[in-house]
């Protein structure tokens, strides 16, 4: 299913020096709540310094994955390691190296932003005060306002600034921008780019596809509790269909059936088709027709995502 070979684990894993371990590694990870299966058979290997996009529709199991990674919920089967450390067994050691931004910013309503930063950073054992001040400026947050009086987006900024200012080796972000306005989205992307330059690893769960497309080195697509596809954007595109659109001088002509070409509903005078595999046969068929314009483009992440969502939801996993 995935393009990257699943990580193999051996008995030596437990003793493997933490210095070499990948940032995130799961093997056969699964979780059931009562009779409902939230996540099954998840194999992930995210290397240090990578920015990994974790995509999936609502309820696909993204937050469950994060809760298992952080050791907030107990896995039903499989393994999950952060820098070689099992966060369920030793949460304190694992959490020293990461910072987490939850999708819903759960904070203490009576504390102000500044007090929240102080509290979180002291529990963590310190952060970078200069960078924190810079982030407060860039995200335009009033740190003296009580959390109670902040909107959802502003509360999210508090968590985000606290996480970024900690400069952790790993940032685990669960839909961190769902409440941010477009200006703040720009500030967020800049901060993630900085984190990447500093060699930090980022695990970004999101359903904002443009954000993932802009930021991530590698993408995993989750559907119905299973990872249905994984790879770099280039790899995902390579396997998916190209979209070819032709415009004609006159009515749309009839095309003979071709292998690997699926004709879609298109307005009169145009032809839109999905091509998987070689494009040659389609070009030959079009050569004799009155084509006035021809475009071919790689699929957007949205199209890849929708492809899996439509065909892979609840199924037993992609390819």
């Amino acid at each position: 299913m995935s393009l990257i070979a699943p990580a193999t684990t051996t008995a030596a894993d437990r003793t493997r020096p933490v210095a070499e371990a990948p940032a995130i590694e799961t093997v056969g990870l699964g979780k059931s709540y009562g009779h409902s299966r939230a996540l099954a058979d998840l194999d992930l290997r995210i290397n240090r310094g990578e920015v990994y996009g974790y995509l999936g529709p609502n309820g696909a199991g993204k937050t469950t994955t994060i809760r298992l990674l952080l050791g907030l919920h107990r896995r039903s089967e499989g393994k999950a390691r952060i820098f070689g450390i099992d966060a369920w067994e030793d949460p304190v050691a694992a959490h020293r190296r990461l910072a987490y931004v939850s999708g819903e910013p759960f904070l203490w309503p009576a504390l102000t932003g500044a007090e929240t930063f102080e509290f979180l950073s002291r529990l963590r054992g310190g952060d970078d005060p200069a960078y924190r001040a810079e982030l407060i400026e860039r995200f335009k947050l009033d740190p003296d306002k009580k959390v109670r009086a902040l909107s959802k987006g502003n509360r999210q900024k508090v968590l985000l600034i606290a996480a970024l200012a900690a400069r952790p080796d790993l940032l685990v972000l669960d839909e961190p921008t769902s409440g941010l306005d477009p200006l703040m989205e720009v500030a967020f992307r800049a901060a993630i780019a900085e984190a990447r330059e500093r060699g930090q690893t980022v695990f970004l769960s999101s359903h904002i596809l443009s954000e993932v497309e802009a930021l991530c080195d590698r993408v995993g697509i989750l559907s119905g509790g299973r990872l249905v596809d994984q790879g770099t954007l280039g790899q995902l595109r390579h396997l998916s269909a190209h979209t070819v659109e032709a415009t004609f001088d006159g009515p749309t002509p009839k095309l003979p059936p071709l292998d690997g070409v699926r004709v879609e509903d298109s307005p009169e005078g145009t032809l839109r088709c999905e091509v998987s595999g070689p494009i040659q046969p389609l070009l030959k068929a079009l050569a004799d027709l009155p084509v006035v314009a021809l475009t071919s483009r790689e699929p957007s992440l949205e199209e890849i995502f929708l492809h899996h969502y439509d065909h892979g939801a609840g199924g037993d996993g992609g390819d």
């Binding site: 107990r74 304190v92 959490h95 020293r96 939850s102 102000t112 007090e115 979180l120 529990l123």
Partner: protein
């Protein structure tokens, strides 16, 4: 009209666990008082003796008010539950109204509902109607308890109505403070403060003969003046009606005029950072619980002063055999000396501090229910450490409250010319801790194993075991069943000595339960609301 009904049903359903718990408590207390009196004092002579000893006693009036007829079951029961259950009815009223009004605004649900074609008045009226339904349940439950004991239907309904009237009067108080305070916590604090003022007015009126007129200044006094079973004065219900309608109208008027989600009084949204106590999760918990602690300290401190001032009002009397026996049943202390009286009344602190401990575990559960633990536990902070710090805070605060009670009772007794030994009273304070630690441990275990049932298990268990200790003997329960209650093994210090082996056993039991709880909590999924 359909909208009002739907809103009322929602408000009723939201409060049903609390309402049903109170209703069960009211029904059982009503039944116990009827049965207990008739079993303990079957003869006229016994009742006359009882009335002679207790009829003029000032300290018992703190709890029950002024008795008007201790020779009939109805008169006795009206005195006993009319006084104490009225306090519980008032607490229920404040909580129910704040839950239905201010908590809904706090959670943002009121905004959602008002965006629908629903007028502000409808929202307010629907919520109040649902709470009134809860008060009706309390009324029916009390009535049923009295009927089950065999009291007359009419008189019982009227006595139950006295309780329901108090509940509604404080629903109205809760409705007003919900308009004034900007948060649920502040509204509850203001409502409970109002309740405390009403209670103190009633206590002063009942204990200082020259100030009896003050009974007319508080709904808790009006409830006494309804005089169920002892020359009823239904006209006093008009006072209740006027109070309740006036306050509800005021609250409705404010609700129509103010911005949704805000209070008439507001706390500043912006302030300079105060960084104290933010170095650890325990310190931050102390910041969060600061208001609650102050409230408890005020309540316990006030009560300790009252108990200390009145410690000397017991006079040696020729007690009949049956009275001595009934005193013996509740612990064997002699009530006729100041230390004897204090030993008996410190039981209230033993129970109250146990309740405080349960409340601290409930507060911990509240942090989890609000999902804030997801934020905390993603930090390098272990669950064990977090819970241990919270439990440490609870024990330290419980110790502080217990010593406060001891010192203030001593000082107040001294001020009124009664000399009681301070070390003995400090021992009485320490005596509050073992059972509190036991219930803290049990509540921790409940928090770990049945998180959503934490409050129900903790408060339910402590209340049942305390009531069983108080009333089990009167009901003639076999001795071994009485021994099941930890309170049976608490010494009545300073009248008796500290029961050291029992105290150590309770401390050990509490620590063991807490340790199992700590372990279980470290190994379970975090559970939201």
């Amino acid at each position: 009209m359909a909208a009002t009904r739907a809103l009322a049903r929602r408000a009723f359903a939201d409060g049903r666990t609390r309402t049903l718990s109170f209703a069960a408590f009211f029904a059982v207390m009503a039944l116990i008082q009827v049965v207990g009196y008739e079993r303990s004092y079957p003869t006229h002579a016994g009742r006359v003796e009882f009335a002679r000893v207790w009829g003029d006693d000032v300290v018992v009036r703190i709890f029950y008010g002024v008795p008007h007829d201790l020779l009939s079951t109805g008169g006795y029961v009206a005195w006993r539950i009319g006084g104490t259950l009225a306090i519980f009815a008032a607490v229920w009223g404040v909580f129910a109204a704040v839950r239905a009004l201010r908590a809904e605004e706090d959670a943002g649900r009121a905004e959602l509902l008002l965006a629908a074609p629903i007028a502000r008045g409808t929202l307010f009226g629907g919520a109040i109607l649902g709470v009134v339904g809860g008060a009706a349940v309390l009324w029916a439950a009390s009535w049923a308890g009295l009927l089950a004991g065999g009291l007359a239907a009419g008189g019982s309904a009227y006595l139950a109505l006295a309780l329901a009237a108090v509940a509604l009067a404080f629903v109205a108080v809760g409705a007003v403070v919900s308009q004034l305070a900007p948060t649920r916590r502040l509204a509850l604090g203001a409502g409970m403060a109002a309740m405390l003022v009403a209670l103190i007015l009633r206590i002063v009126a009942d204990t200082a003969g020259s100030l009896a007129w003050m009974r007319w200044a508080t709904p808790l006094g009006w409830a006494e003046e309804l005089r169920p079973f002892t020359g009823p004065r239904p006209a006093v219900l008009l006072l209740f009606a006027a109070w309740t309608v006036a306050l509800l109208a005021l609250a409705a008027a404010i609700a129509r005029r103010r911005d949704v989600g805000t209070g008439v009084l507001s706390t500043p949204d912006t302030e300079a950072p105060r960084l104290g106590l933010l170095g650890s999760s325990g310190g931050q918990a102390l910041r969060g619980e600061y208001g609650t602690l102050l409230g408890w300290a005020a309540g316990i401190g006030l009560f300790a002063m009252v108990v200390g001032l009145l410690a000397d009002t017991f006079e040696p009397r020729a007690l009949s055999h049956s009275i001595r026996e009934s005193i013996h049943r509740v612990g064997g202390a002699s009530l006729t000396t100041p230390t004897g009286a204090l030993g008996f009344y410190f039981l209230i602190f033993v129970f109250a501090i146990g309740l405080f401990a349960c409340g601290q575990v409930s507060a911990a559960r509240h942090e989890e229910a609000a999902s804030r633990l997801e934020t905390l536990f993603a930090l390098p902070l272990s669950r064990r450490r977090w819970l241990l710090e919270r439990l440490g805070l609870a024990v330290a605060a419980a110790l502080g409250l217990a010593l406060l009670a001891a010192v203030l009772a001593w000082a107040a007794a001294l001020a009124s010319g009664t000399h009681v030994s301070l070390p003995r009273l400090l021992e009485a304070g320490l005596n509050c801790l073992p059972s509190a630690v036991l219930f803290l441990g049990i509540a921790t275990l409940a928090f770990a194993l049945v998180p959503r049932g934490t409050a129900l298990v903790a408060y339910g268990l402590i209340s049942v075991l305390f009531c069983w200790y108080l009333f089990g003997a009167i009901l003639g329960a076999p001795a071994w069943t009485l021994d099941l209650s930890p309170y049976q093994h608490v010494g009545l210090v300073p009248a008796q000595g500290l029961k050291v082996p029992e105290a150590l056993a309770m401390l050990a039991g509490g620590c063991l339960a807490a340790l199992i709880g700590l372990r279980a909590f470290a190994h379970r999924d975090l559970l939201g609301d």
